[in-house]
Amino acid sequence: MSNEIFENLKKAIIEYDSERAASLAKEVIEKKIDPMKALDAMTEGIRQVGDGFGRGELWLPDLAGAADAMSSAMPIIEEEIKRTGAKRVSLGTVIAGTVFGDIHSIGKTMVCTLLTAEGFEVHDLGINIKAEEFLEAAKKYNTDILAMSALMTMTAPEQKKVIEYLKKEGLRDKVKIMVGGGAITEEFAKDVGADGYDPTAPGAVKLARRLIGK
């Protein structure tokens, strides 16, 4: 019986059905089914989509659809996992945001989507994020990676600030910093003191894995 629900959850992710995924997640809670196993089923689903992408059969919108379905079910399952005292095992935690002074978000959204699909726990802070907010989120989520997005290089002073703050709090060595955006270059990344940069969303995922050594 519960196997059916896991199969259906996996299917909902593969078929990009956010509504179904959310309602199945609710069912898991109501029927007191093991939330960790439900999480595994969803992860399996998104991995399948990810593999299809890797083989060249599926594309970014497919990944985005799957990640979306995952994101509708995730908070419900996570809540339950927390309640039972269990711990979600993810690849790593990422906080992401568009730097203060910049409201462009599509690049960041793509990277967050792919990181979610890859198995990271991702907290998208949104746009126009000040250095203080990045710092707060880094502490709150005990993050492994801090990802900053900006379209123009004029946000450099703000990005440098973020890194300064982390240093002041003694967190710089714990948190890996990656930057990205249309005009960002390797040179810029070095200049602001980041740990890495990639121009494409799939590349950002590979970078994230490298940064945390997985």
Partner: protein, 502 residues
């Protein structure tokens, strides 16, 4: 049947109705007052019979306007041409666009960019690539002019025809010169395909014997014709574009009259290879933008005549290399003729003038053709594509469309993916060894040649027929003295070494 691309918006025009009328009036007047010189007795007689004003001494023929307009009306505005494989049949007509190749005498070395004669393998490879590409709808005469190994001049195209029959099931075009088209037709019938007869004009206002004979051949075998005009504006045609259009008209129409007199309702199309005159070195000026004005105006006039047009001036350029200049000299005339009503674009594989061609170029041109096709087919404007509800739902930032079912459904329909263009970001590109479109084209060529098979191959008896006709041609030209003994010995050796009967 090959589909081609359908234009989904109204024709692009540059002449007013009145200007088109003025061009037509001028054309009729030139034909009636000046006419053309026709160096062909049979044709002179045919014209005389149809009440043209014929002077058998000066070889001048003048045409009554009524006859001109009647014959233009008789020619069909749309017609089918049958290929060896029916899936390669063509429909040539208004609103639909097909592509084929522009010839090169030889190939070009991609490192030093100098021309040389193609080997037989290189010639076959080019044919195979053209046969494989879905947007190449038929093959011109000589993609290359013969191949290396001492082929006598007169046999070059005929050997080439045999290669085309063996390696492609697409329709092809004949050359009208010294009965070459006679042998081409024989081989085409043996292989079971139709071909285009190819009368060409000589500017200004002159027809030589062989060109006119092509009309008789077309009538006898009921072949469709593609009639080329290659005047140079400022040289053999007026420097003014309007005048050059009048002259081009006046040169093409008598062929159409003759063909309709011999075979009413015969299929005809006209190919515009009018070029500018390079006023420094006297050669044709390839890639000249003014020529596109001529072509667009020409298309507009011939749309009124109801006869399909071919744009040939998008083939040859003045660049010797596959470079930036080649890119724009090919693209601009091609897109302009596509939106103004050309039914066929002679775009593929050519580089400099008629001197060089290359299969890599054909693959690069394929992306141009794809882009043009995508543009012509336009977009869908419907409730679903307008997506107003979705737009309202998504709202402003941070809303986005990447994860929407609508995006998943529509992106493939709306995006054209070029096959060999470089589309990487800088870091990806550096990691990929900085590949350019030429590198990708080389890869694609390798892929195509590894798997593409002619479908269907010639049967054994068809192959025998082809060989027999080749032998016939060789003997015919030997007898005519067009293959000197010394050339013959070298030729024999080449044939023997490739294991073929001679």
């Amino acid at each position: 049947m090959l589909k081609g691309f359908t234009r989904n918006f109204p024709l692009f025009k540059i002449l007013t109705e009145e200007q088109v009328e003025a061009v037509h009036r001028g054309t009729l007047d030139v034909l009636q007052e000046t006419g053309v010189s026709v160096y062909n007795e049979r044709a002179l007689k045919a014209f005389k019979k149809a009440s043209c004003d014929v002077n058998f001494e000066t070889k001048r023929v003048k045409f009554p306007p009524g006859l001109v307009e009647e014959c233009l009306r008789k020619a069909p505005s749309s017609f089918r041409v049958k290929a060896r494989n029916p899936k390669h049949d063509l429909i040539i007509g208004p609103g639909n666009i097909l592509f084929f190749n522009f010839p090169g005498t030889g190939t070009v070395d991609l490192d030093i960019w100098e021309p040389r004669t193609a080997t037989e393998k290189e010639h076959v490879d080019l044919i195979r690539v053209l046969d494989a590409l879905p947007n190449v709808h038929f093959l011109n005469a000589y993609p290359y002019f013969g191949f290396s190994g001492g082929i006598p001049e007169i046999m070059k195209e005929i050997e080439g025809v045999a290669l085309r029959m063996r390696n492609s099931t697409k329709v092809t075009v004949a050359i009208a010169n010294n009965d070459i088209d006679m042998f081409t037709i024989k081989m085409a019938r043996a292989a079971g395909t139709e071909i285009f007869a190819n009368p060409n004009t000589s500017s200004p206002l002159t027809y030589y014997t062989d060109q006119v004979n092509a009309c008789f051949l077309a009538a006898e075998y009921d072949l469709p014709s593609m009639i080329w005009d290659g005047a140079t504006s400022g040289g053999t045609a007026p420097a003014s574009l309007a005048g050059a259009v009048v002259l081009t008209n006046a040169e093409l129409i008598p062929f159409i009259v003759l063909i309709q007199l011999l075979n009413p309702g015969a299929r005809v199309s006209v190919a515009n290879l009018v070029l500018a005159q390079n006023m420094t070195n006297g050669a044709p000026a390839f890639g000249e933008i003014g020529v596109s004005l001529h072509n667009v105006a020409f298309n507009q006039v011939w749309r009124k005549y109801g006869i399909p047009t071919v744009c040939s001036s998008c083939g040859p350029t003045s660049s010797k290399r596959i470079d930036f200049q080649l890119g724009y000299q090919k693209m601009m005339p091609a897109i302009l003729s596509a939106i103004s009503g050309s039914s066929v674009l002679q775009l593929y594989s050519s580089i400099y003038g008629e001197i060089t061609a290359h299969p890599i170029q054909a693959l690069l041109d394929d992306d141009i053709a794809g882009m043009i096709g995508s543009f012509l087919e336009g977009i869908e404007v419907s409730d679903e594509s307008l997506a107003i509800d979705l737009i309202n739902e998504v709202g402003p930032i941070p809303g986005h469309y990447l994860n929407k079912a609508h995006t998943r459904k529509w992106w493939k329909k709306e995006q054209f993916v070029p096959q060999v263009a470089d589309r990487l970001t800088y870091p990806e590109w550096i990691r990929a060894d900085k590949k350019s479109c030429i590198d990708y084209a080389k890869e694609r060529m390798g892929e195509i040649l590894a798997v593409h098979k002619v479908d269907p191959p010639l049967t054994d008896s068809q192959e025998e027929d082809i060989e027999r006709i080749l032998k016939e041609a060789r003997e015919c030209y030997k007898k005519k003295g067009l293959i000197p003994d010394k050339e013959w010995e070298i030729y024999k050796k080449t044939l023997r070494e490739s294991g073929r009967p001679y």
